[in-house]
Symmetry: C2
Subunit: 425 residues, 2 copies
C-alpha cells in the first residue's frame, strides 16, 4: 500500500539511469513503426514543475458557456474576399484542425445570401399553406411540442470544391472542402407537420422559404418531405446558432445544403416546382451540350484526406496515420481506399466508429513515409456501389462549365521536405 505524495515532479520518480537510457533511446529511435512517434530530442527537457501545477487555476464557471483554449485561436472559420453583395458570402470549416466526425457548432461552415437575420424566436412563425386542407401558423412553442427525433447528418454546400475544377486553387483543405459539417440535428419530422395540415391529393412539391432578407427559397419534392425531411431547431444538443438558421431550419438529409432552408418561415404545398432563383440561375449544372442539370439534389459519395494536408508539414520520415472524412448522400459509406502514389495502388482504410446513414465517416490508415515525394488520395465507395470519380472522369461527364457538385478525388502532393500542396494529377 503506497500513499501518494502531492505534487511530485513525475520525472523525479524515474531513476537517473532510466532517464538517461530513455532520453538516449528516444533520440535513437527513428525508423521503427510506432516508436517513430517519439522524436529525437536534445535531452534538455526542463524537469522543473510547471507553473500551472503549483497554484490553483481558473475557477469553475470561468466561462458559464465554455470557450476553446486561447491557444487554439487559429482554429476558426475563414472566408475569402470577393462577396459581391453585403451579407452574401461563405465561411469555411477548418477541417485540417478537426479530429473526429462531429463538427462543433462554433466551426460549422456558413453560407448566407443576405446576412444573418436577428430573429426574435418568440415572434417567429412558420406558415404552412397551399394545397393543404388546413393552413397552419405555428410558433416555436408549437413546434417544440411536436414529437421530435435526433439524427446525425452531414451538410455540404453543393458549391463545396467548386473552385477546384480547372486548377488546384486552394492550398488548404479548409477552402477546398470546408463547406462541409456534420452535426446531430433535433427537430420535428416534416411529415408530422404536413399530416397536421393535411396535404391535398394534387400536391407534388413544396416551396421552402427563409425569413432572411434574400428570402432564399427552394422547391422540394413532396416525396422527400415525407421520407426524412426534418424541421430542425437544435444542433448538437443546443438550440440552433443564428448563422445556422435560429430558431428554425429545414434539414434534407443527403441533399445539397442550400435546400436545407435556414430561418424557415414558409412552406407552400403545390402541384409543380416553383423554379425559384436558387434552382434556376443558381444551383444548376451547365453541361457541355449547353443544357443544364436542374434539381440535382443528392450529394454523391466523396472523401478527402484532412491529415496530412497543405496546412501541415511532416517533420521526419516514419510512421504517420493518414486520416480523412468520407460521406455520401445515398446512404452509408461502404469503403474508403487510400493511395500514396497518386492512384497507382490503393489500400483499404479503417472506418472509425459506427458508420451512420448520410453522416461523415472518419477513415484512418497507417503510412510509413520514406521521406520521398508522395501523392496522397482517398476514394469513397458507398453502399449503392458508387465509386468517387477522378477529376478527369468527372470532367468527361460534366464538362468544365459546372460549378456545383465537384466530388472528385483530391490529391495532396508531399514533397521531400515534408511540405504538402494541392495538385491535379
Amino acid at each position: 500500500m503506497k500513499q501518494k505524495t502531492k505534487l511530485i515532479n513525475p520525472l523525479q520518480e524515474i531513476p537517473t539511469t532510466s532517464r538517461r537510457q530513455f532520453l538516449l533511446c528516444s533520440a535513437a529511435l527513428g525508423g521503427a513503426a510506432l516508436t517513430a512517434a517519439a522524436p529525437a530530442r536534445a535531452g534538455t527537457e526542463n524537469l522543473s514543475i510547471p507553473a500551472w501545477s503549483k497554484r490553483s487555476g481558473d475557477p469553475v464557471l470561468w466561462h458559464p458557456y465554455g470557450q476553446p483554449s486561447a491557444q487554439q485561436s487559429h482554429v476558426v472559420r475563414r472566408t475569402l474576399p470577393g462577396a459581391p453583395v453585403p451579407g452574401a458570402g461563405a465561411s469555411w470549416t477548418p477541417l485540417q484542425n478537426l479530429h473526429g466526425n462531429i463538427t462543433p457548432n462554433g466551426l460549422v461552415f456558413e453560407r448566407h445570401h443576405a446576412g444573418i437575420p436577428n430573429i426574435d424566436a418568440a415572434l417567429h412563425r412558420l406558415v404552412i399553406h397551399g394545397l393543404v386542407k388546413q393552413p397552419l401558423l405555428l410558433t416555436m412553442d408549437d413546434l417544440l411540442r411536436f414529437p421530435a427525433v435526433s439524427r446525425i447528418h452531414f451538410l455540404e454546400c453543393s458549391g463545396n470544391t467548386s473552385r477546384e475544377w480547372r486548377a488546384p486553387v486552394s492550398n488548404s483543405v479548409q477552402f477546398s472542402h470546408g463547406l462541409l459539417s456534420n452535426c446531430e440535428w433535433t427537430g420535428v419530422r416534416l411529415s408530422t407537420v404536413l399530416d397536421e395540415a393535411g396535404v391535398l391529393p394534387a400536391a407534388q412539391w413544396l416551396l421552402a422559404e427563409g425569413a432572411d432578407a434574400a428570402g432564399v427559397s427552394r422547391s422540394i419534392p413532396l416525396a422527400k418531405a415525407f421520407e426524412d425531411a426534418l424541421l430542425v431547431y437544435a444542433q448538437n444538443g443546443e438550440m440552433l446558432r443564428p448563422e445556422q438558421g435560429y430558431p428554425l431550419r429545414l434539414l434534407l438529409p443527403g441533399w445539397e445544403g442550400n435546400m436545407s432552408i435556414k430561418w424557415l418561415r414558409r412552406l407552400k404545398v403545390a402541384d409543380k416546382p416553383f423554379f425559384a432563383r436558387n434552382e434556376t440561375s443558381k444551383y444548376t449544372d451547365l453541361l457541355p451540350d449547353g443544357t443544364s442539370r436542374i434539381f440535382s439534389f443528392g450529394m454523391d459519395a466523396k472523401s478527402v484526406i484532412t491529415y496530412p494536408s497543405p496546412d501541415h508539414k511532416l517533420r521526419d520520415k516514419g510512421f504517420y496515420e493518414i486520416s480523412g472524412l468520407a460521406w455520401t448522400g445515398q446512404g452509408r459509406i461502404k469503403r474508403v481506399d487510400v493511395s500514396t502514389d497518386g492512384g497507382k495502388s490503393w489500400r483499404e482504410a479503417r472506418l472509425d466508429g459506427v458508420v451512420l446513414d448520410r453522416a461523415l465517416t472518419r477513415f484512418r490508415i497507417d503510412w510509413q513515409w520514406d521521406g520521398g515525394p508522395a501523392t496522397l488520395q482517398s476514394r469513397a465507395i458507398d453502399e449503392t456501389g458508387y465509386v468517387q470519380p477522378t477529376l478527369q472522369q468527372l470532367i468527361a461527364k460534366r464538362g468544365l462549365n459546372s460549378a456545383y457538385h465537384n466530388n472528385a478525388i483530391q490529391s495532396w502532393a508531399v514533397a521531400a521536405d515534408g511540405s504538402i500542396k494541392n495538385v491535379h494529377v
Copy 2:
C-alpha cells in the same frame, strides 16, 4: 411554372377566408392529439413583415468562432455556493434545455479540485513509467502522431444526484442530474502507448495523475487500460476545452468521471493500487455496516426525464412528448419505461436514433396530459438485464451514508397548474 416574388409576406398568400378559418380552428382545437400543439391564440397575429426580413443581417464571420444566440443566454452551466477551497467546485449541464444526445462543448459539466490549469500544450508532457521496459516522455506532437480513434461516450461524475439521497433537494434537472455529458472523444488507445512502453509481467495497476495543482490521481486496473481506455485530446471534433483537460485527458468509458483524469501528465505502472486520496477518503461508498465500497468504478444504468422537468411549466392539457436521457456504464441501453402515475403503470419509450455503447440514449414517449396531477418517472434497463432501482431499493442496499453512485429512479410531480417539482414517492 410560377416565378417566386421576393419578400412576400407569407400570410398575404393565405386567402382571407382560409386564414380566418385557420385562426378559428386553431383557437378551437384543444383536445385532439397532435393538433393540441397548436394553441389557442388571440387572432391578433401581427401580419406585417418582420424587420429581420427587410434588411441584410449580420455578415458572414460575425463570429469566426460561432456563439449561441443572445436569446439563449439562459442556457449555461450553473454552479452552487459552498465550494470549500478556491478553485474546487462543479458546474452543472443544463439538461432541461438540451434536445439531443450530444452535449455541446460549451455546456459540458465541470468538476475541478484546484481550478483550471492554464497549460501550454507545447510544453506539456506525458510521462509513462514504473513497471515498464522503456519509460516514455511524450509531447502532444508525439501523441497526435499515434493512430487514433473517435468514440461517443457519456461522462458522469459519480457524485451526480448525490444531494438527492435523503430529500428531493434540487428543483431543476440541471442540479439533480447535470454532472453528466455526452461527447465524441478522439485520441489514442492507452493500450497503444502502453505497448510502446512495454508493460512488465508483474504490472496490475496504473496511477493516472493530472497536472492541476491538486494533482488529482486515481488507480486504474491495467485490464481497463488495455480494454478501452483512451488518451483523449479532442472532444466533439475540436481540441479539448481547458476545463475538460486541455491538452490531454484520460477517458475510461462507462466509469465514474473522476477517474478520467484531466490535464493528464503521468501514468505509473505498478503491481498494486495506490490508494490515492480520491479513491480512499473520497469516491468510496460508506455502507450501513461501517465498511466502504472502494474501487466502485462502473456507472450503473440510470435515466432521467429532462422534458418536462421542474424548469418547465405545462401550458394546457393535451399532447406532450416526454423526453429524457438513459445511459449505462455496462454497455447499451436496452429499454426505457416511463410512468406517469408514480410507478403504478409503465409504458415502453422509443429509443431515438442509433443506440451506442456507453453513450447517452435519448428516449421519447407520447403523453396526453389530462390536466390533473401526475408523477413522471423513467426506468432504464441495460443489455445486461440490470434494472434501474427505486430510491427505496437503493437505500435498502446501500444505506444513507453513500454520497456517490445514486442512480435511483427520479420522480417529477406535475401539478394541476402545470408546474413541476422534484419529489420522492
